[in-house]
């Protein structure tokens, strides 16, 4: 099986979907000749032409709204928001429109729309190129929210997102675009939306994470296994909405201890919902306080390197949290 980077896997998924279905098209800022600022769509403009890989005006809400209209008319749009930080102008179109279209039309109009957006910090992007925005959208029934952490999942999940009859927000951990490598089968396969992945098996405690943090969680788990003999179950959530409660609870029933890691700021973040699920549906298995390791409650990730590093969770911070939890 060929090994490739996360971003190469994403590109391969789009390439295959464009080849499979003439209704699939890509739009977004700089997705055409430039191939995207991260090069996610590199080569697709040359291969499929300007009528299917379309540079949008520099206006995010219209990227999503055009996608909604086109999806309602039977096309299959892949809309790229250049950075998740820039998705906020499109919030109304995503939350009021795409998410509610099927419900508010009594099941008559559905929106098969994929919105891709690189998210997350640690790349020197400062306040507006580092945000984790998933919690805004996981609060919204009608949307699906997907965050891959491996090249295999990136390809398989993106293909599932494109084929899903609902609006799917596909948040890509941009710090891992080139640093995360893995084996990816050539050709057709999909990974189902709505299923978490057991990234590591252990029985001492459960670590729940997604995106870059899932990648770091596995690294931290290996470190504490080596250094402390602590064996972590690591659950890569992969899909944040709908929630795979079954996998989440199955791990907790085994370990009784939970650490939830996310790089968004802590309060009201996605981890709060996981904690609520564990305490309400897994209470009798609970063996320690549910722990969250997340970004601090400051407005955003600062630019200056030491400030950024102070903000970001990393394998060392995760390992420290694991040791603290394991001590219960």
């Amino acid at each position: 099986m060929p090994e490739m980077t996360l971003i190469d896997a994403l590109r391969e998924a789009m390439d295959e979907e464009l080849a499979r279905d003439p209704r699939v098209f890509i739009t977004g800022e700089d997705v055409g000749k430039r191939g995207g600022v991260f090069r996610a769509t590199m080569g697709l403009y040359e291969k499929y032409g300007e009528k299917r890989v379309i540079d949008s005006p520099l206006a995010e809400l219209s990227i999503v709204a055009i996608g909604i209209g086109a999806a309602c008319a039977g096309l299959v749009p892949i809309c790229e928001i250049q950075f998740a930080d820039f998705i906020h102008p499109a919030f109304n179109q995503i939350v009021n429109e795409a998410a509610k279209m099927y419900y508010r039309s009594g099941g008559a109009w559905n929106v098969p729309l994929t919105i891709r957006a690189p998210y997350g910090g640690g790349i020197g992007g400062g306040l507006y190129h580092s945000q984790s925005v998933e919690a805004f959208f996981t609060h919204v029934p009608g949307l699906k929210v997907v965050v891959p952490s491996t090249p295999y999942d990136a390809k398989g999940l993106l293909k599932s997102a494109v084929r899903d009859p609902n609006p799917v927000l596909f948040f890509e951990p941009k710090k891992g675009y080139r640093s995360i490598r893995g084996e990816v089968p050539t050709g057709e396969y999909t990974v189902p939306i709505g299923k978490a992945r057991q990234a590591r098996v252990g029985s001492d405690l459960s670590v729940y994470a997604y995106g870059m943090m899932a990648h770091y969680a596995v690294q931290a788990a290996e470190q504490v296994a080596r250094e402390d003999g602590i064996q972590c179950d690591v659950i890569d959530l992969r899909t944040l909405l709908p929630i795979d409660k079954e996998t989440i609870l199955a791990s907790f029933k085994k370990t009784g201890k939970a650490l939830i890691v996310y790089e968004d700021n802590l309060t009201m973040g996605y981890g709060a919902e996981i904690a609520a699920i564990l305490s309400s549906e897994g209470f009798e298995y609970m063996d320690a306080p549910i722990m969250r390791l997340a970004g601090p409650d400051v407005p955003a990730v600062p630019f200056s390197h030491p400030l950024q590093e102070a903000f970001m969770p990393n394998p060392q911070k995760i390992a420290a949290a694991i040791r603290q939890l394991a001590a219960y």
Binding site: P22, R23, F25, K51, R52, S56, P57, A59, L61, S62, A65, I66, G67, I68, G69, A70, A71, C72, A73, G74, L75, P89, N92, Q93, N96, E97, K100, M101, Y102, Y103, R104, S105, G106, G107, A108, W109, N110, P112, P141, G142, K144, P165, N166
Partner: protein
């Protein structure tokens, strides 16, 4: 940019048969009488909310007749009862919506009344935040163009949508959503008609507080699309303007911004009191320019409409509306469990 009036217009409407002209009149009348009934039901405390299209009938019915009704995409706004009715939404559908009853076609009675949607008639579902439908309509128009250019449809197949019509009030053109939608329409030369029903007020705020230009249509220049202003109380002028825009769209000549100047004869909605912001004299004057009376005079002058036909139409309208109201009042409410349906496709 052109200003079309009743006296200096291109004349596709001259080709309309007496039968079609009467059909247009019938739809205006039925829309008005249904609308009046809704206000009455609200005063009686039988329904909770109504938003009216009174005064806009010429624009809306004229527009409906100028496109391929039920086939071309329409992304309307809440004031478009007459438009949607002329496309095929029935008084019974509307009554079910007013009463919030089971079987309601647009949303299974989830939405407030007048939030249109009809998949079978290619009417896109509408929300309440204004102008959101404009970039979506540009998306519908984009899909039409995409399918043509990528060989997914025959461009001359009239059983397929060949344009998207979207409507909004003049106040909604202050929204960024409107701008972004119009910009796409211009850049990509989309088969879009943007019909601004300019009634001078966005609830209470007059047009001078929305824009510094004297006409909405002037804004077309900024998007590189065709812009026209039309007398929105003259149904034939409205028909002609939309017909010309439709031809442009069908022929791949791009989008048109039409500003139809009309007057809202009622408060914004049943929750509004327009006495706080406009004089009774102003409204009385507007009532003298009622688009239905105007068209009626036109048809009578040409011997197309008679007292007998008028009387027959009034009677039929009453029957249709009575039946619709009875049906809706007798219909059950939605099952509580339907709350959980249609969250995901």
């Amino acid at each position: 940019m052109t200003v079309l009036t009743a006296t200096q217009r291109s004349q596709p409407s001259a080709q309309l048969s007496a039968e079609t002209l009467l059909d247009m009149y019938w739809h205006m009348l039925l829309a008005r009488r249904t609308d009046e009934r809704a206000w009455m039901l609200h005063r009686q405390g039988k329904i909770a909310f109504h938003v009216s299209s009174m005064g806009h009938e010429a624009v809306q019915v004229g527009a409906a007749f100028a496109i391929n009704r039920g086939v071309d995409y329409v992304a309307p706004y809440y004031r478009d009862w007459a438009l949607c009715m002329a496309i095929g939404v029935t008084p019974r559908d509307f009554m079910l919506s007013l009463f919030g009853k089971a079987g309601e076609i647009s949303s299974k009675a989830r939405q407030m009344p007048s939030h249109w949607s009809h998949r079978g008639l290619n009417i896109l579902s509408t929300s309440s935040p204004v102008a959101t439908q404009v970039p979506q309509a540009a998306g519908l128009a984009f899909a039409i163009k995409y399918k043509r250019e990528n060989g997914l449809v025959d461009p001359n197949d009239a059983t397929q949508p060949r344009l998207a019509l979207t409507c909004l009030g003049e106040g909604s053109t202050s929204q960024g959503e409107w701008h972004e939608g119009m910009n796409w329409a211009g850049v990509h030369k989309l088969p879009l008609i943007c019909l601004v029903e300019n009634n001078n007020y966005a609830i209470s705020v007059p047009i001078e507080r929305q824009m510094a230009v004297s006409r909405v249509a002037e804004r077309a220049v900024a998007y590189g699309v065709h812009g026209v202003t039309v007398d929105g109380t003259d149904i034939l002028a409205c028909y002609d303007a939309v017909r010309a825009a439709a031809e442009r769209a069908y022929n791949g000549e791009g989008a048109t911004l039409i500003e139809a100047k009309c007057y809202r004869l009622t408060p914004h909605s049943s929750d509004d009191d327009d006495r706080t912001y406009r004089s009774r004299e102003e409204i009385e004057e507007a009532k003298r320019a009622d688009p239905i009376l105007r068209f009626e005079r036109y048809l009578r002058e040409r011997g197309i409409l008679s007292d007998a036909i008028k009387q027959d139409y009034e009677q039929r309208a009453r029957q249709v509306i009575d039946e619709a109201q009875r049906y809706a009042e007798a219909a059950p409410y939605p099952e509580g469990s339907s709350l959980y349906e249609d969250v995901y496709a």
